[in-house]
């Protein structure tokens, strides 16, 4: 399936004399809208952030897939891309940013540092060994740093995940 096909509205139009009736499932319609308008938070802590900026810029241009409005406030963001090493001192800040985001919210762990601590796994006093110790992660993107294509792939994988989750039939905790 091509990326463009994912933008097509999930439903059918039944032609009538006055213009037609749209038939769809609420789950699918809501997920379609949410998945194609994910606003990422401006959050980058090291070299992965440079690749993330590259993915946002004209050459890779993540706005093609609905990520165009990077927000400087967590209250307006749906997605946090943890791009870079998280140290012990940054951990409470990241947790706070995540808590400030409105539901539904998603997390992408970009790069080796956010997955496991990466090159800072051994013999370090300062680095958090995996961002999933602090906040729940939806998509992991390996690499050091991952190329912008890999980030885009991860973000499209997240869209796929959103489209397949039952919005109204979520299990209660």
């Amino acid at each position: 399936m091509d990326v463009k096909d994912k933008l097509i509205f999930p439903g059918q139009v039944h032609e009538t004399a006055d213009g037609g009736i749209l038939v769809t499932k609420l789950d699918e319609a809501i997920n379609w809208a949410r998945a194609n308008s994910l606003w990422p938070l401006v959050f980058g802590t090291s070299c992965c952030a440079i690749e993330m900026m590259s993915a946002a810029d004209a050459k890779y241009d993540w706005s093609r897939f609905g990520f165009e409005v990077a927000r400087a406030s967590p209250r307006q963001a749906d997605l946090i891309i943890v791009a870079g090493t998280i140290v012990m001192k940054m951990a409470p800040v990241l947790k706070r940013l995540y808590d400030q985001m409105a539901d539904p919210k998603y997390v992408i762990a970009m790069g080796a540092c956010t997955i496991s601590g990466g090159p800072f796994f051994y013999n370090t006093y300062s680095v958090v060994k995996g961002v999933d110790h602090i906040i729940p992660v939806d998509v992991y993107i390996p690499g050091c740093p991952p190329r912008p294509e890999a980030l885009l792939h991860g973000m499209i994988a997240l869209q796929e995940k959103i489209k397949n989750e039952p919005y109204f039939r979520k299990k209660k905790d």
Binding site: K89, F121, N123, K129
Partner: protein
């Protein structure tokens, strides 16, 4: 001034100094006693107006303080080293009063190595949280989050 001239000058003011000339810069080893007075003397006599690096090394049996000094007028560079043998409670003179930049550098050395600087105006941790236990760049540092290779 070249390294040889520097050495002759320093020997005049601080007879107790010893030297290592194997590197690019002249390394002068000064005694721990009267360190601030000696440094002030060097600054005045050799026009060492710029402290461009202040750090420490943990050699396990002692801690070495390293000062890189530069004269902007005379274009000479000098490295000062001091041994602190009391690793349990390392203490030495602050050079904040001589080079203002030493304030933050010494706070970093205090943060990472636990060296106490006498007469420092504001000696507290600069990078780590205030309630951090231990000195992370010491060779014998351990904590529960660290995974040894």
């Amino acid at each position: 001034m070249n390294n040889e001239d520097l050495k002759i000058q320093i020997s005049q003011y601080i007879p107790a100094a010893s030297y290592d000339e194997s590197g690019e810069f002249l390394n002068a080893f000064l005694p721990l006693e009267n360190f601030a007075e000696n440094m002030l003397l060097l600054r005045q006599k050799l026009q060492l107006d710029y402290l461009f690096c202040l750090t420490a090394i943990d050699w396990k049996d002692h801690i070495a303080m390293v000062y890189h000094l530069l004269s902007k007028q005379q274009k000479h560079t000098l490295v000062i080293k001091v041994k602190i043998t009391d690793t349990a409670n390392p203490t030495m003179d602050s050079v904040c009063g001589i080079w203002k930049t030493a304030n933050y550098h010494e706070r970093e050395v205090y943060d990472m190595f636990g060296v106490h600087f006498n007469a420092h105006p504001d000696l507290r941790r600069i990078f780590l949280d205030e309630d951090w236990k231990g000195w992370p760049l010491r060779k014998n540092y351990e904590d529960e989050n660290m995974i040894a290779l």
